[in-house]
Symmetry: C2
Subunit: 432 residues, 2 copies
């Protein structure tokens, strides 16, 4: 082994150091707890799928962002989201699953785009969806939004959830006979918070809308506040059936949300969501003072259209956990260093086994004790404990073993006290 | 959307139905709990790595099992184990990490081998390793074996851990000047439990061992029982230094294991472990009456040899969780169906919101209540609850809402009782 290979990680691939990974894993555990508590079941699909399955939506066209390759005769892709695998799974098992099917999935997805700040080629998605068989009540939309709110509550974060219903805007476009241009118009409106109003107007006019229509459209998207008030305010704005249906759904959603006890939801008809497949409720979540969404979701008409004749409407939510974690790290959300160790144990030549025994008993009682068995001298062991930044050192010498009382040193204050095993457990566990 | 794509999963790729996935996820949670309790930190490396990094061991030769592809100019592979990524990570961060570095990782790995019963192309590995900087005490070997035992204990499984030290056999081979053939000889000995002794002997003779040497070798591998007794028994068997060093390490390990309080460890010098890189302690775990190992581990001389000049010895353990889960499922280990729902709530047109409110409060109190809001009639809702196999149905009618007492129906006995919110929480949570 003469020539060494330089150890490198692929560009654009995320990897955390242990102390960060502990925090990230805790975040995921909290989210999983919320999903389970709300009767969502876990799903864990393969990272690889047949290319024709994964690319069904695009008619087999390969997006250049997708990791695609062949092995033997098999043409396969790495998943770029968790929704297509969900659709594949639901279509395969449509006769075995219970509907509404409520599943969550937290997993890595892959997009070979150019690496840039805050964008990764491998990142986590954290999705929860409710899929109906043929039909799905608006209650499901409310349940998804409530679940989304609970996710942030569990993380101890203040969230603001802005909700709209795409049918309202789509109805107005139908009214002015611009349905064929709706994708382009939605793309323009999606930039409302980013570019000046004049610019939006100019772009809409380029798409063939007259001045009055532009003004009306902008007027609608600027409606924010209590959902019931927005609905009341717009009731007579436009007689179009789809528009009115959107208002009805929006109003119904508000009533359901009340039953779910949500507290952080506001109406905002400026919420568009880029994805073309959203057809009703759409929502985005923002941290206090935050401008970029840290999660979102919405209602889609048919999950499995590419795989099955069955109509399967759904509503989903997604927390952008990779981005959220970056924001929280920058904002100093994680104030306390999470130590993997409560106590470092220092032993001497003839007390090593007594120290290991004590360590084992402490661990079994829920205390994260770790014996510094590698460092050789007392001085080296103390230095090692210091370098690791542990808060407490437990000295297990001959006298201590005889007495059954161990010397606990607070590394911050340098104060020492002698404690029995029971007192140690009391001090370092929640029961204490 | 006329032509439908047939929804298929890639051959040899594992995927569980929700009721199984719940059990599997619980298994993973239990293992994670053990790792954390024992002061191991989590690591989560990318699924993809540079090919030259991942294939450093084989000098860049591509094993046909490996998923390798290029995107743009980048030649990359999907990881086939969690050890090479660990080596890459440790080599990259050798100046930042605390040593001994104790990390665990549970993640999917990829091997494009021919699918066969019990073998998958994507499967989970669950590893924990202790890496030293320059040197690593035998205490680490004991800690790994103890951790391995605790994993099975946490899962409620009886395990038998058979331990050996490879130096003992290697020392004997040195004594008879057969070190150059040791790989081939170990491969033959690894088949001890599978093929008849005569066959083993014949194969060893083909490798140039005389009859006496064969007998001695087989005699060594047949030593099983208490480690201290095996050591005593072999002390005068062979004067070779490596042989004696192996016995010393083995004896030391037994003493450390006692301090860790292990209960399921036995010596068995027939444990070889195929991997060539094990150089000292090796062990395998078996379920009661089980012949196939459900996990294993051992000591290796140098983790990062391909990436770094630094000498980094390590010891690791691995639970074969995908296989273990299959065995447990077949053996009826999971006796009780884990329900994602404790209570299905049935409402009527005018009590939907009261039912949703009650559901929300129950969930917040830790009861997994789920409202059957999709089914339309009472009859359809009862049928749905039946189909889902829930144990309890809670009827929320107008009378119930007025009285604040809800009708709980036991679906097994058909018995009904009226309970307040508080009584429901009491009945369905651990505190009750």
């Amino acid at each position: 082994m003469d020539k060494k290979i330089e150890p490198r990680r692929l560009k654009g691939f995320w990897e955390l150091m242990p102390e960060e990974q502990i925090l990230f894993s805790e975040m995921l555990s909290k989210l999983e707890k919320v999903f389970k508590q709300n009767c969502f079941v876990p799903l864990d699909t393969p990272v690889l799928e047949y290319s024709d399955v994964l690319l069904a939506k695009s008619g087999g066209d390969v997006d250049k962002e997708i990791y695609r390759f062949t092995k033997g005769d098999t043409d396969m892709c790495m998943r770029y989201d968790l929704t297509v695998p969900l659709a594949r799974f639901v279509a395969m098992h449509q006769n075995e699953l219970n509907f509404p099917f409520k599943r969550y999935q937290i997993g890595k997805v892959y997009r070979g785009e150019r690496p840039q700040k805050g964008r990764y080629r491998e990142f986590y998605q954290c999705d929860a969806d409710i899929i109906g068989d043929g039909a799905l009540s608006q209650v499901a939309d409310a349940e998804c939004i409530s679940l989304f709110e609970k996710c942030f509550k569990e993380l101890g974060l203040e969230v603001r959830i802005e909700v709209s219903n795409r049918k309202i805007l789509a109805g107005y476009l139908e009214e002015i006979s611009k349905t064929d241009k709706s994708t382009e118009i939605f793309i323009v409106l999606d930039k409302l918070s980013k570019i000046p109003l004049e610019e939006i107007k100019r772009e809409l006019e380029e798409l063939g809308l007259n001045s009055k229509e532009c003004e009306n459209l902008i007027k609608i998207t600027q409606k924010t506040g209590k959902i019931e008030e927005i609905v009341e305010n717009l009731r007579n704005f436009c007689k179009n059936e789809l528009f009115q249906k959107g208002l009805n759904e929006f109003e119904e959603l508000a009533a359901h949300l009340k039953a779910f006890g949500t507290k952080c939801v506001v109406g905002n008809l400026g919420i568009i969501r880029g994805h073309n497949y959203y057809t009703g409720t759409v929502f985005e979540g923002f941290l206090k003072d935050g401008k970029d969404a840290v999660g979102a979701g919405g209602r889609f008409e048919n999950l499995c259209g590419y795989f099955s004749e069955k109509n399967m409407p759904g509503v989903g939510m997604s927390v952008g956990i990779t981005r959220l974690f970056s924001i929280l790290t920058q904002n100093g959300y994680f104030k306390e260093k999470t130590n993997e160790v409560d106590i470092s144990i220092i032993t001497f030549d003839d007390t090593l086994h007594a120290g290991l025994e004590l360590m084992t008993r402490l661990r079994e009682s829920g205390v994260k004790a770790d014996c510094l068995y590698e460092a050789k001298t007392f001085k080296a062991k103390m230095k090692e404990a210091n370098r690791r930044g542990v808060n407490y050192v437990l000295i297990v010498g001959e006298d201590e073993v005889k007495e059954g009382e161990y010397t606990l040193k607070d590394m911050q204050t340098s104060q020492q006290e002698k404690l029995t095993f029971e007192k140690l457990v009391e001090k370092f566990t929640k029961n204490g």
